[in-house]
């Protein structure tokens, strides 16, 4: 295992310490329990938003804390959900009197831990709502399973909902908005190589030199199928077709196209994927009104990409465009 770390046990704490030192104007980092809050928290009379999840997906979520996006992020150990005590302390630190929205990716661990945190926060008199993101079309949507994973739409929901709370949206309304974003976004990912969890010390899976994993999860969970390596254009189509069919997206729709890097894939390649995705959408009469390209929801050093398409309306577009000032997203301010 080749990593720039001191030890697996200290990795997350040292990394968020670095994040805090680099962006001390925007965020504050709290240790033991670990959480990251915007520098001016709590913001009086603003609904707060907290997200969190395992580490290893940076810049998500710590890089999304700041004006116009998250009020707090709770980083767990690498690929492990954070714990209720972190969430509870973060909740107390950011509640500005208007309640707190938890944006939770649909993984059993995240759901259970946020659930416990919500119980604890409510018992301390803080109003809490939780909205689950489950946009990964690689997973069959079934009532009898844990359902779909939360992936790329999470990033977009955090930006859009963050902007809404800056504009004075109430807790119940921002929760409603978050459910709308989740209902409007679909994603699918693939991997060329595995990631290596520091504690495990070796790759989570082995992919032969001529194979790829389609529908992979952001924790290196195996995907839909393993197939022979294909060209970027073919792969883009393999990812995009089920995404478009699922909602379904239709001619005339306006969308945000998000081509995400899994960590180890260079930007040079991501733009090749973006180019093809943009063409496919355009050929179907689906408009690409906004774009996001880059490694925003990563899986350590995994090589691969995921594509998220979000159906836009005026409200979502306005909140997407609204000013934001976080380590990873910065515009209009």
């Amino acid at each position: 295992m080749k990593k720039l770390i001191n030890s697996p046990a200290d990795l997350v704490t040292e990394s968020i310490a670095g994040l805090g030192a680099a962006f001390s104007d925007l965020i504050k980092v709290h240790f033991d329990p670990n959480f990251i809050i915007r520098a001016d928290a709590p913001v009086r009379d603003k609904t707060a938003i907290i997200s969190g999840g395992g580490s290893g997906h940076e810049p998500m979520h710590g890089g999304f804390v700041g004006r116009g996006m998250l009020d707090a992020a709770c980083p767990g150990a690498v690929f492990s959900s954070p714990t209720p005590d972190q969430m509870l302390e973060a909740t107390k630190a950011v509640d500005g009197g208007k309640g707190v929205l938890y944006i939770v990716k649909n993984y059993t661990g995240d759901i259970l831990n946020f659930e416990m945190a919500a119980d604890l926060a409510r018992s301390e008199g803080i109003e809490v709502e939780a909205v689950m993101i489950d946009d990964d079309v690689a997973v069959k949507d079934s009532l009898y399973t844990a359902g779909r994973r939360g992936v790329g739409t999470t990033v977009l929901a955090e930006k859009i909902c963050g902007a809404a709370t800056e504009a004075g949206t109430s807790l119940s309304d921002v929760a409603e908005l978050c459910r709308k974003v989740n209902a409007s976004g679909r994603s699918m990912g693939m991997a060329l190589t595995s990631c290596t969890v520091p504690h495990a010390g070796k790759p989570t899976f082995e992919l032969p030199e001529d194979e790829m994993e389609i529908g992979v999860g952001i924790h290196g969970e195996p995907g839909r199928e393993r197939t022979k390596l294909k060209t970027a254009d073919e792969i883009t189509k393999i990812l995009l077709d089920p995404v478009l069919e699922d909602l379904p997206f239709k001619s005339g729709d306006q969308t945000l196209l998000f081509v995400n890097g899994m960590g180890g894939t260079p930007l040079l390649e991501l733009f090749v994927v973006y180019r093809k995705a943009h063409r496919i959408l355009t050929e179907k009469g689906i408009g690409v009104a906004r774009s996001l390209v880059g490694p925003y929801m990563t899986s350590l050093e995994m090589a691969g990409t995921s594509i998220t398409v979000l159906k836009l309306d005026d409200q979502l577009t306005r909140f997407w465009d609204a000013p934001v000032l976080t380590p990873a997203f910065r515009w209009g301010i």
Partner: protein
Amino acid sequence: MLTASQILRWIEQYAKLISEQKDYLTQLDADIGDADHGANLDRGFQAVLTKKDELAGKDIGTIFKTVAMTLISKVGGASGPLYGTFFLQASVAAAHKDKLSEADFYEILEKGLAGITSRGKAKVGDKTMVDAFQPAVAAFKRNLDEGADFEKSLSDAIDAAERGMLSTIPLIARKGRASYLGERSAGHQDPGATSSVLLLKAARTAFS
């Protein structure tokens, strides 16, 4: 009767087994999950061990409560809240007790399991720790009703847990991270069911 120090030894013994088996558990999790089950539990139980001294002399309810809170705040993932809830419900059942009868021990297992299923909503056959826990608790109950001694009850429970654990191999997961795999989850043993068997095995070592 089980004493508080035997309960403490159980916890220590489980921590030891987890630490020994963590790579194995993580490997099972790598196959159908995210390669952290061993690391998760080990992080939690190592944190529990640091509280060993302060727990000496405490009642069993307090011991379980401390284990529960430590797991909840240190483990994360699915297994943190699930094992945490197991011990939290166990602590309610054992509140203020310094000794546990065989019936008390059954109540602990039964309440603990109820905590897991009410939190995780998994049923037998979903390919989770419940596939090991539920038959184990049932086997213990059967022995208890038949008046068997503790050793035999525990032994049968362990056997049932192991059979349950092995029964997860062909199953298609319906809960937890492995469920994302659909049919590809078949052919692999569930890591949580495996760590549950170790919990009971640790009890046998600690109590005998």
